[in-house]
């Protein structure tokens, strides 16, 4: 049985940028353990010499010509049409580096 600790949930929430409360850490930990109990039954299956499948219909290397198609591009106004914070035609993002 895979036991998931609230601390591990906290780490995952940080990696996934999902803000959760301390109470939720405990709740999610319990739910994750329950889910992984079901998942762990999978390991009984013999997959020796079996290759994983990532594309079910067998398509490979579907490429297009490396050419810009302006018909497929959004205009700057369209791209900015749903943002709440813009400045001079740019998206405004959170600061990630700060001076000490």
């Amino acid at each position: 049985m895979t036991k998931i600790s609230p601390n591990l949930v906290k780490h995952m929430s940080k990696l996934a940028k999902i803000p959760i409360s301390e109470k939720e850490e405990g709740e999610f930990a319990k739910g994750f353990s329950k889910t992984l109990d079901v998942v762990d039954k999978l390991f009984k299956v013999d997959v020796k010499n079996v290759e994983p499948t990532h594309q079910v219909t067998g398509l490979e290397n579907v490429l297009r010509e490396d050419k810009v198609d302006e018909k497929k591009m959004l205009s700057q106004d369209q791209a900015l049409s749903n943002t709440k914070k813009k400045y001079n035609g740019y998206f405004v993002v959170d600061q990630i580096l700060a001076e000490d």
Binding site: K34, V38, F43, T57
Partner: protein, 471 residues
């Protein structure tokens, strides 16, 4: 009879004969919406200019008829939220391929339908805009995640609808709501402009009143798309052309009814009865036993598929939902509901260093076994039949806090979804006391939509369970 109760094909026929007008259809359909939407919560948004748009399309194949579309398809001019507050008020700057093709063929998107938020669920109860109720009996759930589209069809609040399926999200709500739902082969319909859930699984498809309507609508939405590299270049047969060919000489395998949890349930009984209907139509019907290991002539139990699907889908969800940063559009990530948070974090875990081999890669290997199993079975059988759900529709509030609710609901379709094959759910029983329906899931090999639809049509005519088919 009101014109909103017409099937797509019948509406076209009567329009062409000038026996009815588009005005009548929109008046009746909008009246049904006005009357029922407050209670059933089927539509999140209605296009007020639908009739005006429709009148310009009357010469095209879909004749300007109203099509309800699940709210995870991007539609210019109609807000698209995937039923999540994260996307509240989002106005798409581009159009999904499926809705673009519908519009090009003369269909009009009359409105956007409710769904489980981000399509994460099988009940439409996880919508941030409240649950949809089952029009067959409003004390019950319509199923999900395409519950709004299935309910819109069931309540004649549209002529036809579009849904999307990752594992069961077209077929299970179709079954619970007593309508027809076709899940095409993965890559038969384009995922471009659909709010992504599991990119290796997602398949848009029609939800309709009859099999004939599903075949007809599929013709207009299917096909290769340069904006989705996973769409197939294989030619698309006209699925309506030989639809009435019948089920004679087909070899059909009945699946999963010997599983201890399914055996002796109303679901198993209905599937067995459907097998007899096919026998009477001249098909050769056999039961396919389940097996927990890959074994010739047997179908791999759905139980491993629950684990595979949980890992693969959570992983793909965590990656797909990383784009919702609240910077370019939508609200920030604190607005995700409980289920999305749950899936994103579990997916992050199963793809993280030290765990991705254990979980994700292992799951993708078991997925290969399911594909091998179906390929072998389809050498033996033309089609496989089962139930799309282990039960009738469940009452409102059934979701509770079970993190595995959806997976348990969808367990009978998960193997076929992981393999990416096609399947259709058609009504196959109605309980007189509750007015709730069961569905029959008819599955075919990759890109065998035509054969699946032919068998479904023959069954629909012979069984008499479809309320829109008069015998």
């Amino acid at each position: 009879m009101k014109t909103n109760e017409l099937t797509l094909k019948k509406a076209i026929e009567l329009l062409d004969k000038k026996e009815i007008s588009l005005d009548e259809i929109y008046v009746d359909t909008l009246a049904a919406i006005n009357e029922k939407n407050k209670d059933l919560n089927v539509y999140l948004k209605i296009d007020k200019d639908a009739l005006e748009k429709a009148k310009k399309e009357s010469n095209k194949p879909l004749r300007g008829l109203p099509i309800a579309v699940k709210d995870n398809f991007l539609t210019i001019g109609l807000a698209t939220t995937a039923s999540s507050k994260v996307l509240d008020g989002f106005m798409p700057p581009y159009e999904s391929t499926v809705t673009k093709r519908i519009k090009n063929s003369g269909g009009v998107v009359i409105g956007k339908t409710n769904m489980d938020a981000w399509a994460h669920g099988s009940s439409t109860e996880t919508s941030d805009y409240g649950p949809t109720k089952n029009p067959r009996n409003p004390k019950y759930l319509p199923g999900g995640s395409s519950g709004g589209s299935a309910a819109a069809v069931a309540a004649d609040m549209t002529i036809a609808a579009i849904g999307s399926e990752t594992a069961g999200s077209i077929r299970q709500p179709a079954a619970w709501s007593g309508v027809v739902g076709l899940k095409p082969t993965y890559g038969r319909t384009s995922r471009y402009g659909v709010v992504a859930m599991g990119s290796s699984l997602d398949s848009p498809g029609p939800i309709t009143k009859t099999v004939e309507d599903a075949a007809f609508l599929l013709n207009y939405i299917a096909g290769q798309d340069s904006n989705d590299g996973t769409t197939s270049s294989l030619p698309i047969p006209d699925c309506g052309k030989d639809l009435k060919k019948g089920a004679k000489d087909l070899k059909i395998g009945i699946c999963y009814i010997d599983h201890p949890n399914i055996k002796a349930t109303p679901v198993a009984k209905a599937v067995e009865e459907a097998g007899r209907v096919f026998e009477n139509l001249g098909a050769k019907v056999e039961q396919v036993g389940i097996s927990s290991e890959l074994e010739k002539g047997k179908i791999l139990t759905h139980e491993h598929a629950i684990g595979v699907y949980t890992v693969v889908q959570r992983g793909e969800v965590s990656s797909n939902l990383s784009r919702y940063d609240g910077i370019r559009y939508g609200q920030d990530r604190s607005h995700f509901g409980h289920e999305a948070k749950n899936r994103i974090m579990l997916g992050t875990f199963s793809l993280s260093k030290g765990y991705s081999d254990k979980y994700y890669n292992f799951a993708q290997k078991v997925r290969s076994l399911y594909i091998k199993n179906f390929k072998e079975l389809f050498q033996e059988y033309d089609l496989l039949i089962s139930s799309p759900s282990p039960s009738y529709a469940l009452p409102l509030g059934s979701l509770s806090d079970d993190p595995m609710f959806g997976e348990l609901q969808d367990m009978l379709v998960e193997p076929s979804s992981l393999a990416g094959i096609t399947g259709i759910s058609v009504p196959c029983f109605r309980d007189e006391k509750t007015n709730l329906y069961l569905g029959l899931n008819i599955m075919g090999d990759y890109f065998q939509e035509e054969k699946v639809l032919q068998a479904a049509w023959a069954y629909e005519q012979a069984s008499g369970w479809n309320p829109w088919v008069k015998i």
